[in-house]
């Protein structure tokens, strides 16, 4: 009879090590697992590309400036992140609850914030793969020309957009702790208008100043606007606000979303514990 389990006491890290391990652990199924079923290449790269192609042909048919083709490719790639945030961040805690994972996360010593961060990082990496494929294929298929004067600024904008976007995802995820089945509807509700408001396929400026300003609460809108300005010849003339200003707003949004996520998570977790909503529905 084995006595191994009795004789080797196990070491358990705490503090920042535990936090880091949790982030990596929760990111793992997204980074590794999600690539196992090869069907993602069809559903998450080819289908979006077909969508992009439709816009490309429309723009070409009406004789729009060639840069618009590039806008569409970039927009098509960034939509992947938005879909990921909606389906795999915001509503995720609801699914985790139904599956029984949430209860196990909560009873573990891992901070829930680290779980959320792991979900975000994992989702971001998996989506980066898809978005990268969309950009590479789109650029090649439609012969997109980029003019990048300031690659570091472009990188900074992209990173900030990601932080703000996934921060928003973490924030809404905690709200979903309190939801049950209706969670589904809210996600659907958020999907379509955002396509329009964030200017995935056309410059944000076209919406008019006030609508564009309102849309800026969605980090993708400003992020995309700044990226267009930084990557295309005609970009600057079509920009909504100046790039430095957009970077400033994105930074503020990042901080606000992350702080709010932390606070909401704490508060709503407590509330959910009192109202018996941390576990799947009454059995």
């Amino acid at each position: 009879m084995s006595v191994v389990t009795a004789t080797t006491p196990i070491r358990k890290n705490s503090g920042w090590r535990l936090f880091l391990q949790t982030v990596i652990g929760r990111a793992y199924p997204r980074v590794i697992g999600q690539q196992r079923e090869k069907s993602w290449m069809f559903f998450e790269v080819l289908l979006p590309l077909i969508n992009v192609a439709a816009y490309v042909y429309v723009y070409r048919a009406i004789g729009a400036p060639e840069d618009y083709v590039g806008f569409v490719v970039i927009g098509g790639a960034m939509i992947a992140f938005w879909m990921n945030v909606l389906w795999s961040m915001s509503s995720q805690l609801y699914w985790e609850k139904e599956q029984g994972n949430l209860a196990l996360y909560i009873i573990s010593p891992a901070p829930l914030m680290a779980i959320l961060l792991g979900m975000a990082v994992g989702g971001m990496i998996a989506t980066l793969l898809r978005a990268g494929a969309i950009i590479a294929l789109g650029t090649w298929l439609f012969n997109v020309q980029y003019v990048v004067m300031n690659p570091w600024q472009l990188l900074a904008v992209f990173v900030l957009t990601m932080v703000a976007l996934y921060g928003l995802g973490m924030m809404t995820a905690s709200v979903f702790l309190l939801f049950s089945r209706e969670a589904w509807h809210y996600v659907n509700l958020a999907m379509e208008p955002v396509y329009l408001l964030s200017g995935f396929y056309f410059p944000l400026k076209n919406l008019g100043f006030w609508v564009a300003l309102g849309a800026s609460i969605i980090p993708l809108s400003l992020g995309l606007d700044a990226m267009r300005q930084l990557a295309f010849r005609s970009g600057p003339s079509l920009g909504f606000l100046s790039v430095p200003l957009e970077i400033g707003i994105l930074s503020v949004l990042s901080v606000v979303f992350l702080v709010a996520a932390r606070w909401l998570l704490k508060t709503l977790e407590r509330l959910a514990r009192e109202e018996a909503r941390l576990t799947e529905n009454r059995r």
């Binding site: 070491r11 358990k12 010593p109």
Partner: protein
């Protein structure tokens, strides 16, 4: 004597613990209350395998949820491994783990080994050590050959073995098992029980709180058993002591053949007959009858003859926890569950 002085030796302690659920009534805006736990006082020393036995809806899962920091008590307090589950939940969590029957945790795209490794990360166990431990436990429970199978491809029994490894691998001071053998076939259930017993025997400081509604499981596995019904603990002792309560009764199993329906009331009303339970079994009627003493038996047989029921077999039975439950509640556990299934909720109030 304050609770603090002896909390150190106790794995679990509860004081007047109660939980009331608010549920939506039939009418709009109407709220009802359901008392799931009422005034639970438990002291479970370290090293004990403690069983919570009760029918559906007794409050077993509710109690586990409170003790594992998933649910707030409505009243009362509880300590696990010496820490208050509400105020010091961060100290409780590194010391506990939980496995539930029929659990579907983890991610189907990951293999058994990967799923387990992931959960080990949430406890801060370094990767190398986690992998060693997972391997050892997989071998112990007989799942090592499936370590690289995607968890979505596992059968219910194998999946539950994976869950068991998940719960045990963090070497918790206090482990909560909520109906760990639920839905398993006889063989798998037996293996899981053997694993649990073995794990307890390896280290005398380990504690398990296990819920079940299988009498036999409680009897076979647990050092002490609490019988819980409608949110209250009715009795709490070792299985032997509990059974001694009904030891003075003589319990017989009779198989009879009869043409016409049996008048069971006439049997129950015989002096010295304490309880009677009957059910149809392939062609015959099985009677289970508790008597104040053996001497009452001839009376029973006489009454059966008078009703023209022919005795086919007769057997004296040792008392079981089922008899204890019947004595405490007045119904067999399955009868309680059948009534609940019909929408009967004794503990719901406006």
């Amino acid at each position: 004597m304050t609770t603090e002085t002896h909390l150190d030796d106790l794995a679990i302690k509860t004081e007047a613990l109660s939980r009331i659920y608010k549920i939506r009534g039939a009418k709009k805006g109407e709220m009802r209350e359901r008392v799931a736990l009422e005034d639970i006082n438990l002291s479970i020393p370290r090293g004990e395998l403690f069983g919570l036995l009760g029918p559906n809806g007794a409050g077993k899962t509710t109690l586990i949820k409170i003790l594992t920091t998933l649910l707030s008590p409505t009243r009362g307090r509880a300590w696990v491994a010496g820490f208050d589950v509400v105020r010091e939940s961060d100290k409780v969590r590194p010391r506990i783990n939980m496995v539930s029957g029929g659990e579907t945790s983890g991610y189907g795209l990951l293999t058994v080994r990967e799923n387990l490794w992931m959960f080990a990360q949430f406890y801060g166990i370094p990767s190398r050590q986690a992998h060693q431990r997972i391997q050892t436990l997989l071998e112990m429970i007989g799942l090592a050959d499936r370590a690289n199978t995607k968890s979505s491809d596992l059968s219910t029994g194998l999946r539950q073995k994976m869950n068991i490894v998940r719960g045990f691998m963090t070497d918790p001071e206090v482990l909560f098992l909520d109906e760990p053998t639920l839905g398993l076939d006889v063989q798998a259930a037996r293996e899981v029980r053997a694993f649990i017993r073995r794990w307890m025997d390896e280290n005398p400081s380990r504690t398990i709180l296990l819920t079940t509604h299988y009498m036999q499981e409680a009897e076979e596995l647990c050092d002490r058993v609490a019988i819980i019904h409608e949110g209250r603990i009715l009795a709490c002792d070792t299985p032997d002591h509990l059974k001694q309560e009904v030891q003075h009764e003589a319990i017989f199993q009779l198989l009879v053949e009869t043409e016409q329906p049996l008048n069971s009331l006439a049997l129950e009303n015989l002096p010295g007959v304490l309880r009677l339970h009957h059910q149809w079994m392939n062609g015959g009627l099985q009677l289970e009858i508790s008597l104040a003493e053996e001497g009452v038996l001839p009376l029973v047989i006489g009454e059966l003859e008078r009703q023209q029921a022919h005795l086919r077999s007769l057997q004296k039975r040792q008392p079981s926890l089922e008899d204890v439950f019947v004595q405490l509640v007045g119904l067999r556990m399955e009868e309680v569950e059948r009534e609940r299934g019909n929408g009967y909720h004794p503990n719901t109030q406006e």
